[in-house]
């Protein structure tokens, strides 16, 4: 009897809902479309993330050969030959920077390869590198040394204004060995992550279609926010003096010594857009938003990406000079980066019901 009352109530509630929803929106109530998250994740894994790691591995091998060649005969001319190879590898890293999850998270790949902000002349990490080179004893496995290796360390050791001189100094054997050790560590970390993705993590990644903290979708949405925070902060904003009332710290730029900071920032953001739309197949978070009937948000995000990329490209190279000499161009880019950041971090995360937080504590 009582169960019948309860049941009856539920049934009548449903009936009322249908009556109401029909009345208020005649015709077609926009029902959310189904969406195959598994297929989206397969696209991310197979067409975007794993190929990016493969490419980085290849680029690092090429770079290793080029670095060894340069170290055998460290001249200014050879340094110039080395630079495009170094740039290609660094750009390749920008395309895996986003994928800081799974194996990369476990191995701290991003931390070891590219901790930002990059070291500066007055940085104690730079002094530590020099003292490590002098003593010849150091442990690049230690997490305390994340600031003393990876691309920022190579950038300094290979392209600082006195790099060639130092490589020809007495005691250069230690310096060359340090560079080779940094190179070897970057290679082994990268191939470790790639192997792990191929052999084990890919399966877990594509099978987990949840959106909670720690899930692939949750992680990816958080990474969009994180990469935008990085771009707004250490990549552009902090060196530009946003935190320091306009006092410019150009040496804090990513890739400062090789003078490729702007290219790196553009590559990072361009790749972030590719990841957003899901590459050539288009089966990315963009498609997920469309399935959720967030057409306007999706087209706005794409427009904000294009605006921000265009504004970055409008800044004259090198960025280190433009921070002081072309402030309006930098300001314009900064403004558009901030707009895109809000759209990704707040609007997209909210629409996809993903929390921007790494902690998994309770909520209600």
């Amino acid at each position: 009897m009582n169960k019948k009352i309860l049941f009856g109530f539920v049934i009548s509630a449903i009936a009322i809902i249908f009556a109401c929803s029909k009345k208020s929106t005649p015709g077609d109530e926009p029902v959310v479309n189904s969406f195959d998250k598994g297929a989206m994740l397969i696209n991310y894994a197979d067409n975007l993330i794993i190929p990016a790691y493969s490419d980085l591995q290849t680029q690092l091998n090429t770079l290793n050969t080029a670095v060894n060649g340069f170290l055998t005969n460290p001249t200014a001319a050879n340094q110039q030959m080395l630079k495009p190879v170094f740039k290609a590898a660094y750009l390749s890293f920008e395309r895996v920077s986003f994928s800081q999850l799974g194996p990369a998270e476990t191995a701290l790949l991003n931390n070891f390869l590219n901790t930002l902000p990059a070291m500066t002349n007055d940085d104690s990490n730079l002094a530590k590198i020099e003292s490590s080179i002098k003593s010849g004893s150091y442990d690049l496995q230690a997490t305390a040394t994340v600031n003393q290796q990876g691309f920022p360390a190579l950038d300094y050791l290979l392209f600082a204004s006195d790099a060639v001189t130092k490589l020809n100094d007495a005691g250069n054997a230690n310096r060359k060995k340090y560079i080779q050790d940094v190179m070897a560590r970057m290679q082994s970390l990268t191939s470790g992550v790639l192997t792990n993705w191929k052999n084990t993590y890919r399966g877990q990644f594509i099978a987990n279609t949840k959106s909670d903290a720690g899930s692939p979708i949750g992680y990816m949405v958080n990474q969009f926010a994180y990469e935008m925070d990085q771009l707004k902060g250490p990549r552009i904003g902090w060196p530009y003096g946003k935190q320091s009332a306009g006092a410019v710290f150009e040496t804090k730029l990513e890739g400062y010594y090789s003078g490729i900071s702007l290219s790196l920032a553009i590559e990072n953001l361009t790749n972030l857009k590719i990841l957003y739309v899901g590459g050539s197949s288009g089966n990315g978070l963009s498609a997920y938003l469309l399935a959720l009937k967030k057409d306007q948000l999706n087209s706005d995000i794409i427009r904000y990406f294009d605006n921000a990329i265009a504004k970055l490209k409008a800044i004259p190279e090198p960025l280190a000079n433009s921070l002081t000499n072309n402030k309006p161009a930098v300001d314009a880019a900064y403004k558009d980066i901030q707009i895109l950041l809000t759209a990704l971090k707040t609007d997209m995360a909210s629409a996809l019901s993903v929390r921007i937080t790494y902690t998994d504590n309770d909520g209600d």
């Binding site: 449903i14 959106s211 909670d212 904003g237 946003k242 309770d362």
Partner: protein, 457 residues
């Protein structure tokens, strides 16, 4: 019904009610409740510790968002916080076993509530529920039977209490449910099925029901069933005839919430087990293996104690009924301003997120420093702060002090905030021309939050 003890001393029908609610019943429902509550709290404490949350929520953060009037509540450091949780766990055991019962209950209430008062960031309705139930347990004679205390001093044993003593917990639960139901009666929840429509597609990974999560009617079903459940369940549970089916609904509802929204943690289990309090004393007698003589009870709660309790609890419930209604005193959209939002049983009611950029401006020179929030706040704190006005003010005050320490003279704190509410696009949240450090926390309506526009899709 238990509520009626609130209005004693009326003739006729009231006298009848009075007689009914003061009728002695077995103390067993209270005893079961005590044991279950103690066990759940012990489990919660262990879980919290094991998850490393003591460290990440109460040791690692650099700043804490305290409650107005409770600024003196401070985290106690690594060792101190772990000790506090140890005390919490031990007092939960004390409650469960009825060992030094009142002392344990007081200790649990104080330690748990202290922890909750440290940081607004971690406010959860079910933590608040735990705090007030712990407070009620201090007052109620739940340690006077089937307890270690009584094993040591059997002369203090009580076998029967007036019905309203058990009614206290029932009424408290009924208030929670009913207010949670009232809060859902908004056009968005009922007519648009928002935020269910936003949340459910994120649950499409679930087996069997996964594909249904994209259907609008499922979102409506969840919304309407949720509202109806919260509003009606107290009545179903109080009424003897509907109690069994009501309890089935409790199980069904909370198991569903545990499956669909695992992030709510212990809450479903706390509510499912607490609902057992609605069952009759004979049910609880059986559960506890008590065989009571049906004859006149021998060990009653002393009358003077009952009288005292009835006065204290009348005041208590008056507060409980009024506090959730305080939002009525504020103008503007409740979800936007969140004035009177907490302590009102508004559970899983809105989808709200935001981000905020803070700027510190030195008055004389006009020099502006942008703040890296992640330097001072945990991601969770930053997220919570970005959508809650009182936290924004606290943070602005912190920034002012922080930048003064850095040598900035008379810093003014400005912010640009963007908040997306219930599936709408993000909107500017904070008036960027107001020095937030000059604003004081108060119970008045905030003036520096920009108005909410509903039709900004």
């Amino acid at each position: 019904m238990a509520t009626k003890f609130l209005s004693p001393n009326k003739k006729g029908v009231m006298d009848n009610w009075r007689e009914k609610i003061t009728r002695p019943i077995s103390i067993s429902p209270l005893i079961t409740f005590r044991i279950i509550f103690g066990a759940l709290m012990l489990f919660s404490t262990v879980r919290f510790w094991a998850n490393g949350w003591i460290d990440s929520l109460y040791v690692k953060p650099q700043i804490y968002f305290t409650y107005m009037g409770f600024e003196w509540v401070k985290p106690l450091g690594d060792t101190g916080m772990h000790l506090l949780f140890l005390i919490m766990g031990l007092s939960a055991i004390g409650i469960m076993l009825g060992l030094l019962y009142r002392f344990s209950a007081i200790l649990f209430f104080l330690s748990f509530t202290y922890v909750e008062l440290i940081d607004v960031t971690n406010y959860l309705n079910h933590y608040y529920f735990v705090s007030i139930v712990a407070f009620l347990l201090i007052l109620l004679p739940a340690g006077r039977c089937k307890s270690v205390d009584i094993w040591f001093s059997p002369q203090r044993k009580i076998t029967h209490v007036p019905l309203w003593i058990v009614g206290v917990i029932r009424l408290q639960m009924a208030i929670v449910y009913f207010y949670a139901g009232l809060a859902k009666l908004t056009p968005e929840w009922m007519l648009e099925a928002i935020p269910m429509k936003i949340w459910l597609p994120a649950k499409s990974h679930l087996p069997l029901v996964g594909p249904l999560m994209y259907k609008a009617w499922v979102a409506y079903l969840f919304s309407w069933f949720g509202a109806a459940y919260d509003l009606l369940i107290p009545f179903f549970l109080i009424n003897r005839k509907t109690r069994n089916s009501g309890f089935l609904a409790v199980l069904a509802f909370h198991i569903c919430t545990a499956i669909f929204f695992p992030a709510i943690g212990m809450f479903p289990y706390v509510m499912m087990l607490s609902s057992l309090i609605f069952f009759s004393s004979s049910f609880h007698d059986k559960l506890l293996g008590v065989h009571r003589r049906v004859s006149f009870p021998s060990k009653l709660l002393p009358a003077i104690q009952a009288k005292f309790l009835s006065v204290v609890l009348t005041v208590y419930f008056f507060i409980q009924i009024v506090v959730p209604l305080r939002f009525l005193l504020y103008p503007g959209h409740l979800f936007w301003y969140e004035e009177g939002y907490r302590f009102s049983w508004r559970v899983m009611l809105m989808e709200k997120s935001g981000n905020t950029f803070f700027y510190v401006k030195e008055s004389k020179t006009g020099k502006t420093f942008e703040v890296d929030n992640s330097k001072y706040l945990t991601p969770q704190q930053e997220k919570m702060m970005s959508t809650q006005p009182d936290m924004i003010i606290r943070y602005a005050h912190f920034l002012k002090a922080e930048y003064q320490k850095k040598g900035i003279k008379d810093p003014k704190i400005y912010a640009e905030g963007f908040v997306a509410l219930n599936g709408l696009r993000s909107q500017p949240f904070i008036d960027p021309n107001i020095d937030l450090a000059s604003q004081q926390l108060s119970f008045g309506h905030v003036q520096w939050i920009l108005p909410f526009y509903k039709d900004s899709k």
